[in-house]
Symmetry: C2
Subunit: 105 residues, 2 copies
Amino acid sequence: LSLWCGFVLIVTGSITAREDTFERIKVLALAHVLRSRQEPGCLLHSVHIDVEDPLRLVFVEHWVDEQALRKHFNVHESGKFVRDASALAAETPEMTIYAAEPVTI
Amino acid sequence: LSLWCGFVLIVTGSITAREDTFERIKVLALAHVLRSRQEPGCLLHSVHIDVEDPLRLVFVEHWVDEQALRKHFNVHESGKFVRDASALAAETPEMTIYAAEPVTI
């Protein structure tokens, strides 16, 4: 990964809540977003509601490099968020990491 | 771009509506998503509402290659959606294209 200078890391993920846990997960997710945004190397961190599934929260994150993202994963509050949100979720949360470079076509 | 076999193209974009245009843009956006998903080479096309800004719609799209994305941009209804949504938006819509490869860290 260190070979790919110029790339950013894009992380996308989703958590689907139950009707009775949506508001709680949303509060946890927003706190996670606001906290993560302050971490070194975080270029973007945001959470959205799927228009087709109002119980599904979708995260989009941009990180400058692998080191920054590793640090983020190792922050205590990051782990606590994942555990707390997973316990409230309707299904196992998903996450994918991409090495990405802006292009024009 | 053709050198980067294994990559997908990720498109992210956003449209911020006005209070009086949000519902109309949301309907147009969802129709655009459902139509685009049927196009050759579309791996993902979805639209979400920013938790921090309920007037902001955020799109995430995955396309197999540049050719598929070019075709998508040239579909008449794609252009009409962009024009119609832009006319209703509070500010100029944003869009970025990334060449992206899934990685594990």
